[in-house]
């Protein structure tokens, strides 16, 4: 398939693209398409609410019975939205609910947070829509610096710069978090892709290029669990991969130093959303006994159900 080169987008990008923050000009979301030759942005809805100021809804009128709609089971709301108007309205109302029930009710706390963050956790979790740590572990604003990628993988230091280790550098060296928690989960599509990979390299897929970071976990799984069915092997690999990510964390000198000094704790976790259970374990670092090829020494293993 044709791939447009980045240079054509540079050209478009350098043309004047406004991000109007003071202009509340809106365009009809439905109706005749806007005829333009230029890449453009349009302001769909601006929900800019200060306490006491009127709500500015220009895209469409509020539907009657809005209060009743807000009371409906909001888990079904997006499923009901078939058109873009509802989608934007829905996002707007979600933000306004957050603003009313969390932001304004804890204004002092949010004002403090606006000045700076001091989270005690850095979390590395999967991008899977079912496993957000803010939901499953109840992290509130300010508590957890969070990286989410496919299969919650941590590449080793020697693999060079990546988005995951940029975040590690910031969290550990700048924010000085005290805990890193890598959370794996059940039925992970990324791990399944890793376990399904044929040995020959398929260069056409991004997914394969990324999940190969977990290749040692796959190797260990194949040797330890080859007698199990594929689903059980994947489950084994999901946990094995967390352990390997913990080992990879220690390949970063500034992480190992802090762990050795007791300033930083490294934990693994596993969320099973089939049974709703959570396992957690902590890396037991004892310097000279630590080797890359040895089993990961752990302590304080908990299983909550």
């Amino acid at each position: 398939m044709a791939t447009l080169s980045p240079s054509s987008f540079t050209k478009n990008f350098n043309s004047s693209i406004d991000f109007p923050i003071t202009s509340f000009q809106t365009f009809a979301i439905f109706g005749p398409k806007l005829k333009t030759e230029q890449t453009h942005f349009r302001l769909s809805t601006s929900f800019n609410v200060r306490t006491g100021s009127p709500l500015e809804l220009k895209a469409m009128k509020e539907p009657p019975g809005l209060t009743q709609k807000l009371d409906k089971n909001r888990l079904d709301r997006l499923a009901e939205s078939e058109n873009g108007c509802d989608l934007f309205e829905d996002l707007k109302h979600r933000f306004l609910r957050f603003k009313k029930h969390k932001f304004e009710e804890n204004l002092g706390h949010f004002q403090n947070l606006a000045e700076g963050q001091a989270p005690k956790f850095m979390i590395i979790a999967c991008a899977d829509s079912r496993v957000c740590p803010s939901v499953i572990l109840g992290f509130q604003p300010g508590e957890a610096f969070m990286v989410r990628n496919v299969a919650n993988l941590v590449p080793p230091f020697e693999s060079g710069p990546s988005e995951t280790n940029a975040a590690l550098e910031f969290a550990v060296n700048s924010l000085k978090v005290e805990n890193i928690l890598v959370i794996g989960h059940s039925r992970c599509g990324g791990i399944r892709a890793l376990m399904s990979m044929q040995d020959e390299v398929d260069s056409s897929s991004f997914i394969r290029s990324w999940v190969i970071v977990g290749k040692n976990a796959r190797l260990n799984t194949k040797s330890a669990a080859s007698h199990l069915g594929f689903d059980q092997q994947c489950r084994h690999c999901e946990k094995e991969s967390v352990d390997h990510s913990l080992l990879n964390l220690l390949t970063y000198p500034w992480i190992e130093q802090k762990v050795a000094k007791g300033e930083l704790s490294v934990h693994g976790g596993y969320y099973d959303f089939v049974d709703c259970t959570f396992e957690k374990w902590t890396l037991d670092y004892k310097g000279s006994n630590f080797g890359k090829n040895s089993r990961l020494p752990v302590k304080n293993r908990f299983y909550w159900c």
Binding site: A127, S129, Q140, F145, V150, F206, V274
Partner: protein, 251 residues
């Protein structure tokens, strides 16, 4: 701290009727518990309480939903948000389990297609668009972003380099150049704010360099949106990005 006192009282009850070895162990446990600073942060306790709250108040209360989610996910959104602890979209936009496939990285950046350098982001986009078939991609920037501030100030401030952070935020250089050209006379804080927004637009443009995104846009199955969360003033802005199409040829 009621539970701590209860635990200690419970252990004390055992002291009277156990053998010496057990008594010694129990005494050691009691001492350990008594020496605990009630104000000391306990990460394990924090995680456990959070999980228990989720299980009791969400998972157990919506069995049909969670049974369905155990079988698969059908999120309508792919979201890119910053790793900043203050801006989780599950809070500010109330995304529930199953609704949003979520990538979080420093400064919520989407680099242009590059299989060697940026396989992590590419994998997330490929999975979300080709496998999960999300209908919307939303990139959310935010106020007082540390990553954007780093982009705007380094290396001009002569600070020591951060090997990985600096390499990553370089993705936003075109946004920095544009902001400095247009708003270079403004104070740094204002320039950063402009760059936070310009970087979202840059990321949306970069999304277009991924073949699966191009196909989704061409087939009108995908929408691209940019958001900006201002946690200083409690505001949220949303924009839709509509790229134009090159008509290449007809046969």
């Amino acid at each position: 701290m009621g539970s701590l006192e209860e635990a200690i009282e419970g252990l004390k009850k055992f002291l009277s009727d156990k053998d010496d070895a057990a008594v010694a162990k129990i005494k050691k446990l009691i001492t350990g518990l008594q020496e605990r600073d009630p104000n000391e942060f306990d990460p394990v306790k924090r995680i456990l309480e959070g999980f228990q709250h989720f299980k009791i108040n969400k998972f157990d209360k919506h069995p049909k939903l969670y049974d369905k989610l155990a079988e698969g996910q059908w999120p309508k959104f792919l979201v890119f948000a910053c790793s900043d602890s203050r801006v989780c979209p599950s809070h500010i936009l109330d995304f529930q389990p199953g609704e949003a496939f979520m990538v979080r990285n420093i400064a919520n950046m989407v680099p242009a297609f590059d299989k060697l350098k940026y396989s992590g982001v590419g994998a997330a986009i490929e999975y979300a668009v080709s496998v999960l078939e999300v209908q919307n991609i939303l990139v959310i920037g935010h106020s007082r972003c540390g990553g954007i501030k780093r982009l705007m100030t380094h290396p001009e401030d002569n600070s020591a380099p951060f090997d990985f952070i600096d390499e990553w935020v370089k993705i936003g250089l075109p946004a920095k150049v544009k902001v400095q050209a247009e708003f270079g006379d403004l104070p740094l804080e204002d320039q950063c704010k402009h760059c936070e927004k310009q970087s979202v637009k840059l990321s949306l443009c970069n999304l277009e360099t991924y073949p699966y995104v191009q196909m989704g846009l061409a087939n009108k199955k995908l929408r691209l949106m940019g958001g900006y969360y201002d946690f200083v003033h409690g505001k949220f802005e949303l924009l839709e990005f509509e790229p134009h199409f090159h008509h290449l040829f007809s046969t």
